[in-house]
Symmetry: D2
Subunit: 291 residues, 4 copies
């Protein structure tokens, strides 16, 4: 199922963050220009609290593959001078994304579907589930499903097996598409890459289990969903995207669950899509999103 129209081999992205100083933009754009790059998109932001500067440039450079090394070499001293954190990423080097799921399959379905439509620029080498139910959803997309059951007793082994899968498939990004296991701090640290979770509430309201039941009990008039990077502290990582939907007294918990599904899949899809296009720059416990 070769659904992905790969990005142009000439397209690259440059991500920068550094202390704000005059001349950064002029210097960077001059260097790209002198190397023959044509900037097609550019966005920047200076955080007023700590004067941290963020920039995302997207550019086309004919013969990128051969010239990337020279560009990086030329850019290194500039980055050094300005104290930059930076990444230069060929757009064609699409990320390898693993999807984790439990019983609720609506987020998984949405991501696979958008991926098939070419809206998510990623390779998906595998889906991991602690339940076998997702097989039916995954099958039509030609992606292997790895069933890794987890119990209180087997959690450590299950995480070790999962980590081994991540390494074997060279996974860059893990997406928890309603995966109902809490990943240990060890797993997060050992994997080392970004992990995106969808939490079914408007965080920081209703952290933890059963957020729709919590929301119903509090009598809120809007329910929400939050996509965030996973950190060792539960539901407390940097927020990438949130949205809400109106509810009312006629809506029982089951209705919140049903309405919430729509919000969850939309919010997670947006967050994943932005991450895959290198539009999300973490900044402490917050994110800069160049959407």
């Amino acid at each position: 199922m070769p659904s992905l129209v790969r990005p142009s081999a000439e397209r690259a992205r440059l991500l920068i963050s550094c202390a704000d100083r005059p001349g950064v933009v002029a210097t960077v754009t001059r260097l790209l220009f002198e190397h023959g790059a044509n900037v097609v998109d550019s966005d920047q932001h200076t955080e007023p609290d700590d004067l941290r500067f963020f920039m995302r440039l997207e550019f086309d450079l004919p013969g990128l593959a051969e010239r990337l090394g020279a560009l990086e070499e030329a850019f290194a001293p500039v980055a050094e001078r300005f104290g930059m954190q930076w990444r230069l990423i060929p757009a064609a080097r699409v990320k390898r994304m693993a999807l984790f799921v439990s019983k609720q399959d609506h987020c998984l379905q949405e991501l696979l579907w958008l991926w098939k439509k070419g809206e998510l620029m990623a390779d998906i080498p595998l889906v991991v589930s602690n339940h076998p139910d997702a097989r039916e959803v995954v099958a039509p997309f030609g992606i292997p499903l790895h069933h890794v059951p987890v119990t209180a007793d087997t959690k450590a082994q299950a995480e070790a097996a999962t980590l081994e899968l991540m390494r074997a498939h060279q996974v860059d990004l893990v997406v928890l598409a309603r995966y109902m296991q809490i990943l240990s701090g060890d797993f997060i640290a050992s994997f080392g890459g970004p992990i995106i979770n969808i939490h079914h509430s408007f965080l920081p309201a209703f952290v933890g289990a059963n957020p729709y039941a919590q929301a119903h009990s509090r009598g809120v008039k809007l329910i929400g969903a939050t996509a965030h990077y996973v950190t060792a502290e539960l539901d407390a990582g940097p927020i990438i995207e949130q949205d809400v939907h109106r509810v009312g007294h006629r809506d029982a918990v089951a209705d919140l669950v049903r309405i919430g599904r729509r919000v969850e899949r939309t919010v997670l899809a947006r967050a994943v899509s932005w991450h895959l296009e290198d539009r999300v720059l973490p900044h402490g416990n917050k994110t800069v999103v160049f959407s």
Copy 2:
């Protein structure tokens, strides 16, 4: 400034709540029909958790003033039979509403403005403020402003003086339009009537002081406002209405404050308007809103 087009003298509302039992609607509508009432609006809800039944009927009855007593007398045994809590309210008996404000005057301004346009069906005998600044806003509306300063030392006396004002002006409803003092449990109990507050966050997120600073610090992507009835527990009373607005990394705390003003005034205005039309029925710590 006679801005209020008074509701028709023939219009009344009947609010009912009771345990759900067959025949309630048939019995009530039959009784109204037999008394010559014409139902113009009707809404009902049964809470699935506890099978509590709620109903709001709006009807026209020619000669209401003279016939209200007979109608109430006829209704009492029906209510008794079904174990109803009920209220029969002539629409023309508009509520007397006091507005409380501190320095931020945008909610006050919005309410006064809508009131002048005839969108809020209330009499406003007075505005109370712990700061003198609101005088300029209130003056063009011809409403007296009572300046009641509050300090840690004078809080008890200030509340006593305020209570006396409520009694003297026969106030039915207090609206805290960004009133930055926390009312004591004693005040709430002594006043006895409903008090609506606007909290500048999407509750239960960011309870307490400086919610916009809290929201900025957490990096949320939506900010909200919540209108709720005041109870002795801070920011924990029954929610009437909530709404949100999108924000992003470019928005500093001052921007959240500015954007939030729009949300606050809209949310508070909707909640107050529904309350004035007897559309909000409290149910434990939640509300049924027949909007």
Copy 3:
């Protein structure tokens, strides 16, 4: 794939419209009560322009199947007296819905998916397409796809064949899930039942072909979708539901198409779901939606 949890055999809906007259509600609810029905949901509306009264009641009646005849017989003289149009519908008699699709399959996919989740209360005996592409989408749901190609020359025969399919499968409702053929007035009249279409614009803006290109050319800041009943006049039938999504100068026509897909599938799903639950009452060229 037996995904549908059938509604309770005791549940029924009563739909009424008539000239507004005192006593309608009392009479109807009394009759239901006397027959042992327990009303679980009720909504009503009087159109101020022509004083037309609309009502939807949902009730439970033990032994409904055996007692439906008696109830209808008892209701007929009441309906006669008030000049009512009315329908009494057992909820378990789910509608038979045919989905029509062309190349764009996102609306089809959404409806099938919600149907499988039990969110659309219908039987789907067949999908009709003028292209063979939908087969892959439809296959996992175990529903037969009928490929009926249409050209300018064969349109009449194609419509006749399609009509024959509708009759053979006893179809109650046709949903045009991005079906890019214009149905003839003859087809609409011969089928006789309701047909719901999703138009990819905020009608009445951008009637006809290529609405996203029209929207882009006009420079609008929101794009929308409209679900409506099909009439002989193109894109002019009663609107059931509409929604919009924000766009900006960065969005090319292809982006509008992509963003629009989300709006289209949400709007169509809501409209179809309301229709299936008998929540949509046409009134001239408008609809009353008891959602």
Copy 4:
């Protein structure tokens, strides 16, 4: 009523549009850097249809007033080389805005209010109205109201008198805040500057008179408002901003008018605020909005 906190005397904006060519950004940012400017905000866009490039830079330059001439002189040959249209605007040179109003004063009220809060960066030398009613709204803000009645017979003289007022008060921008007269092509041409209108529908739906009555008659489920630049063709100029609000069968035309007021004032306020900050760049019959 000195409500306006003037922008810093060091802040300026540079607006550019030209055919997209490599090196534009590098050249411009280099030149600003060499003149000691510190870029604090930057946004750019290339229109894919015609490869037109748009850029907005905001920067601080100490001693701007004395150095502006030199900067313009240095920039002129660069602009010449790239075939740029460009404007260099000191932020402290706030625009002079005239508000036109008829009987409906909610948009006028909103703009004056935001202006007083410091959210609209403009001087408002006068309000023009063809009705005397606005006097009460305008008075507390200390702005002169010019009452210029218009009849079919006196339209030419009225427009001439209005034009004379614009000249006498050196007006940069006219905002039609529900001004119910159609300005002639002559007036538009003679005034020469931008004119922003609020149309009370989601254009291009419901062009012309009584859009809420049109919307009610068509049975739409959302009503909207559109802020656009005025051109000689009625309701057809470049759209700056639009928004919508949900309505239903319970809403009569009077409700649409009431709900619409909220949408109108929000949409117009956003559009005016963006224009005043030079965030709106017209492009043919569309706009690029760097919001």
